[in-house]
């Protein structure tokens, strides 16, 4: 005869513990089955590992205590909760769950149990994701790290950019030579504290980081990785791959649980009471896409309340209510309504969706309201819950209906907004921060795929084919390929036969041509959002490329085959006329205006200095500069005594000097890893640092031009003794150091003080287009 319990809870992680503790407290007949230890995932952590308690704002429910602390402290608390809470816990591995007429039958380590309800909280740590490259089964490839002290003086490669990878790398780097391999260019999935720690370690040289890289091949004692700069072979005695875990999908499906898609990353869908498609079966924690401990404990508490028939709001309900206050009607109905209207987020788990809402802002816009304007620098992502918005693309307006999204171009390419968007009728919009969407792109495959496809269509639409039929473009997008180029890699060479055109999605490229003397001379650069290579594919007959195109920075492009491109042009005679005219203009220019080597070299200099990616940079005309440093004095005087520009430290080419000063890049690297999101782009392009800066220094490390410094706020009143030099100027100001850089004097109405205070007019603020115009006219120096 099988033992019977009202509730069988499988898995004694935080979710299972939360549930079992609450069941015990309510005197419900229950059993908690665990194949390993209480809190097994934490048990497997490195000894004395510090565990964080995120999200910090979220309140914790029920009797299972949890706060940030060491692995040992947490396990002790949980074991105490089990003992003192009279939780009925049993060791055993569940091998089968079957829906029976009046409940479930469960087989666990030979024993047979029956239950009215099953709470499944087994997590995902059981099956780690493999590297999936030749050699990933070699003995020195591991997927966990128990005791970092077991490794000394070794060359270790940690693969992954999540918390586990970061923590392993940090634990090993004191006694070993550690490299970390990151598939992307940032650490968006990691907790903020971890991200800033690993960036510190990378900066100080304790850990070597390979960004945008992947493992190609593992061999004994070495590993080959692919980086944007080419393949690199590393000496390596040990590899730890922390690529997350795969859901135990087979087991779940055998219990009757269905999945929304065949996508390996899809998670089972549960309702807000955590009940899945199998009546009476509840799923919690990482299994439904929520890996954080606090959420899991709360879910465990809540699920028992639900089973007992008590109404309980999710712990984050207050936060959700706060966000949805602008909408009339009941909060939960509104939440459901928003969710049902946005197919992009269909695959998100309930908690993921709630987190998205908590981080986002709901807007109600009236017809004609401008949502953002062309050339704005905002980077948030917009979803249309109801109503219609219109994109101004030239003379034509493109309408986007409810259920769709926009603003994704700013999100992916880090450039200015390419079009103005207004509300076409009254609409409800959801504005989500860039960081939150990046997190979803990284964790929910369907979000990434949908965004990629729509990005291609919109890139083609706004950059090249405003008149094209969106359906046709969508069709084309499916055939187009994405191709990434490393810094300095050639897209095509002058003289090659043209067979494809490229839409630059991210990064920028340099156009260069051979001059009469045979030297390759830079002609211009083309930023993201533009088309290159169209000149040689305009006719059916083969044509040679008239210039060489090289990636200036790591560049992502969309490839359109010649025939597809010509097909598109046939369908859009207006566009064809426009592009043909442009091409013939360029042909004429190519013959008549050969760029001098001087200008070409200057362009190369500008590209190296990053000013082609600048929105607005300070340049000094050395023909006028007398070196009085009044620019620096003005900067210091208007910025609490600290100059944000270093004139002498800048690089020079001929008479053009580019001081060390913020370029307000179109694609600001400083913004990549700012924990409090203090670095912001103003609508008119300035990159500024808000007061919320915590002084972590990530931006100073990420800026390739060294323009950000950590300084103490020196703003204290005038001191006569200091002024007379009788007292040393206090430099610590008492406050914490914060990041400081050029803010374009946004606090002054008159514009940048450096420029206004230059007596000879040598200091100029310019953008790359101005600069080309300025130097282009300098005939005297041209070769």
């Amino acid at each position: 005869m099988a033992e019977h319990f009202d509730i069988v809870i499988i898995g004694a992680g935080p979710a299972g513990l939360g549930a079992a503790h609450n069941a015990a407290k309510n005197g419900v007949s229950h059993i908690l089955i665990e194949k390993g230890e209480i809190g097994n995932t934490i048990y497997d952590y490195q000894l004395r590992k510090h565990v964080m308690a995120e999200p910090t704002k979220l309140p914790l429910r029920g009797g299972v205590e949890f706060d940030a602390g060491s692995r040992e402290e947490i396990l002790e608390r949980w074991n105490k909760a089990v003992k003192e809470g009279n939780v009925n816990v049993r060791k055993g591995e569940v091998t089968k769950i079957q829906k029976a007429e009046a409940g479930f039958t469960i087989e666990a380590s030979g024993a047979s149990l029956t239950a009215k309800q099953v709470v499944l909280a087994i997590g995902v740590q059981g099956s780690p994701r493999k590297l999936g490259v030749p050699g990933d089964d070699l003995p020195h490839v591991a997927y966990t790290l128990a005791d970092p002290d077991a490794f000394q003086g070794m060359d270790i490669l940690v693969v992954g950019a999540g918390d586990a990878a970061i923590e392993n790398a940090l634990a090993l780097c004191e006694k070993n030579k550690v490299s970390i391999l990151n598939r992307s260019g940032e650490f968006p999935r990691a907790k903020e504290a971890n991200a800033s720690k690993i960036l510190d370690a990378i900066k100080s040289g304790k850990v070597t980081c390979y960004y945008n890289s992947a493992v190609a091949k593992v061999e004994p004692e070495k590993v080959v990785i692919t980086t944007p700069e080419g393949d690199v072979e590393l000496k390596c005695n040990h590899i730890i791959a922390r690529l997350g875990c795969i859901l135990p999908r087979k087991f779940l499906e055998s219990a009757g649980i269905s999945f929304p898609s065949p996508d390996p990353n899809a998670v089972p869908v549960v309702d807000k009471r955590y009940e899945c498609n199998v009546k009476g079966m509840y799923i919690l924690g990482a299994l439904i896409g929520y890996p954080l401990i606090k959420h899991a404990i709360n879910q465990g508490f809540e699920v028992i309340e639900h089973i007992l028939g008590r109404e309980v709001e999710p712990a984050d309900q207050v936060l959700v209510e706060e966000k949805l206050r602008v909408l009339p009607g009941e909060v939960n109905a509104n939440l459901e309504m928003i969710r049902s209207k946005l197919p992009l987020f269909a695959d998100l788990s309930d908690p993921q969706f709630r987190e998205l809402i908590i981080d986002s802002t709901v807007h109600i816009k009236k017809p004609g309201d401008i949502i953002f304007e062309r050339n704005d620098y905002t980077d948030s992502f917009w979803s249309i819950v109801s109503g219609t918005v219109a994109i101004d693309a030239g003379e034509k307006q493109i309408k986007i209906n409810a259920g769709n999204f926009f603003g994704e171009m700013g999100l992916l390419s880090g450039r200015r907004r390419t079009a103005t968007i207004r509300a076409a009728e009254e609409c409800i919009l959801l504005e989500s921060p860039r960081k939150q969407i990046l997190k979803l792109i990284n964790s929910v495959v369907s979000v990434k795929k949908a965004l990629d496809e729509v990005f291609m269509v919109r890139a083609m639409q706004t950059a090249i084919f405003p008149d094209a039929d969106p359906a046709f473009l969508m069709e084309l997008a499916k055939r187009c390929k994405m191709k990434n180029f490393k810094k300095g890699e050639v897209l095509f060479k002058q003289g090659d036969i043209g067979d494809v055109v490229y839409v630059i999605r991210k990064g920028s490229v340099k156009i260069s041509r051979r001059n009469k003397a045979g030297a390759d001379v830079a002609q211009t650069y083309i930023p993201a959002g533009n088309l290159v290579g169209e000149m040689a594919v305009l006719q059916q007959a083969d044509q040679a490329r008239s210039a060489t195109v090289t990636a200036v920075v790591p560049t992502e492009t969309i490839l359109i085959e010649k025939q597809d491109f010509l097909g598109l042009l046939e369908q859009n005679p207006e566009t064809k006329k426009r592009i043909s005219l442009l091409a013939s203009q360029r042909t004429v220019e190519n013959i008549t205006d050969e760029t001098s080597e001087y200008t070409g070299r200057l362009l190369d200099f500008m590209m190296a200095e990053g000013v082609t990616d600048a929105d607005n940079f300070l340049l000094i005309d050395s023909d006028l500069c007398i070196g009085c440093d009044n620019c620096e004095k003005a900067c210091a005087a208007t910025h609490s005594g600290y100059s944000r520009l270093d004139r002498k430290g800048g690089k020079t080419f001929a008479s053009v000097q580019i001081p060390v000063s913020c370029r307000h890049c179109e694609n600001p690297l400083c913004m990549l890893d700012c924990p409090p999101d203090a670095l912001t782009r103003m609508p008119n392009g300035e990159v500024i640092i808000r007061d919320s800066c915590i002084g972590c220094g990530n931006c100073t490390r990420n800026c390739p031009y060294g323009v950000i410094q950590l300084v103490h706020d020196d703003e204290h009143g005038f001191n006569l003794l200091e002024w007379l030099g009788l007292k040393k100027k206090s430099s610590d100001g008492g406050g914490a150091a914060k990041a400081a850089k050029c803010d374009m004097c946004s606090h002054l109405n008159s514009g940048p003080a450096c420029v206004r205070s230059c007596p000879t007019g040598a200091a100029i603020r310019a953008n790359p287009r101005d600069m080309l115009r300025i130097v282009g006219g300098k005939q005297g120096v041209r070769a």
Binding site: L624, N630, K651, F653, S655, R756
Partner: protein, 273 residues
């Protein structure tokens, strides 16, 4: 760069034009006016011009304040400097018109002389600004003075050590060609310019060397040549940097001296009225 608008040609010589017009108008009035007792500072025109000139001087002196007013919102320093420079030059003509070209050995003329020192030093400064800025090496990718001096120090050591343990003849060549470069402002402004090696003299010296020493000799010459080149560059850079600043040591103190003399001039005029 093509946008080479400096202070002197600010807004297509706006302040040159305005000041030229002012001077022209004042000159015409001066010529037309024929007061009793001849033209002098005591006539209506004389007093008026005196007031104009005094106000002009106050405006010119205000530049020192404006230069440090970094929050100033209405004008750019370039524009203000342009007005400062051209008005200053205009005063050189307006003030004699005020006095009816009467000069003497008195406090009035002293004020004028001091003002002329200020104006001339200012003009020299302006010429330096325009003329010397494009020649500053360190602004054009070249090393700073400090770097040059450091390199010179290293080169001197290299030269010394290149003849260490070598024959007396080689050491002798070194002593004949080598030189000590002492960077100084006086040297840079007034000293002899550093000349390149006299090729004939060098080849004569090298002829006395044996075949083995000849290669060492050539190496030595190239080191000394490099040192000369660096020293010449350093000397020029120091000279430029000095010139860009030194005129201010005349311009600013004489401004205050002139201002004191001006006050004395005004006081005495009214006191002895």
């Amino acid at each position: 760069m093509s946008s080479e608008e400096s202070f002197y040609n600010y807004k297509r010589y706006r302040y040159l034009t305005l000041n030229a017009l002012l001077v022209l108008v004042l000159l015409i009035i001066y010529i037309v006016d024929s007061p009793l007792g001849g033209r002098n500072g005591g006539t209506v025109v004389g007093y008026t011009y005196g007031i104009i000139a005094a106000l002009g001087i106050l405006y010119l002196m205000w530049y020192g304040v404006r230069r440090r007013a970094y929050y100033s919102a209405h004008t750019t320093l370039k524009g203000v400097l342009s007005a400062h420079a051209w008005l200053g030059i205009a005063l050189a003509i307006i003030v004699p018109l005020h006095s009816g070209f009467s000069f003497g050995f008195n406090v009035h003329t002293l004020a004028y002389v001091l003002m002329m020192v200020v104006i001339i030093s200012g003009v020299i400064g302006a010429i330096f600004y325009v003329d010397l800025a494009p020649r500053i090496r360190s602004h054009r990718g070249g090393g700073t003075i400090k770097k040059h001096l450091e390199q010179l120090r290293i080169l001197s050591q290299d030269i010394e050590s290149s003849v260490k343990g070598k024959s007396d003849r080689l050491v002798d060549v070194m002593h004949k060609l080598n030189f000590e470069y002492r960077p100084s402002i006086g040297n840079s402004l007034f000293g002899r310019s550093i000349k390149p090696l006299d090729k004939k003299h060098v080849s004569e010296l090298l002829q006395h060397l044996s075949e083995n020493e000849y290669q060492d000799g050539l190496k030595l010459v190239s080191l000394i040549d490099k040192k000369l080149e660096l020293a010449a560059e350093a000397q020029e850079e120091i000279s430029i940097m000095t010139k860009l600043r030194i005129w201010l040591f005349v311009h600013v103190p004489f401004t205050f001296a002139m201002f004191a003399a001006l006050l004395a001039h005004i006081f005495s005029v009214f006191y002895y009225w």
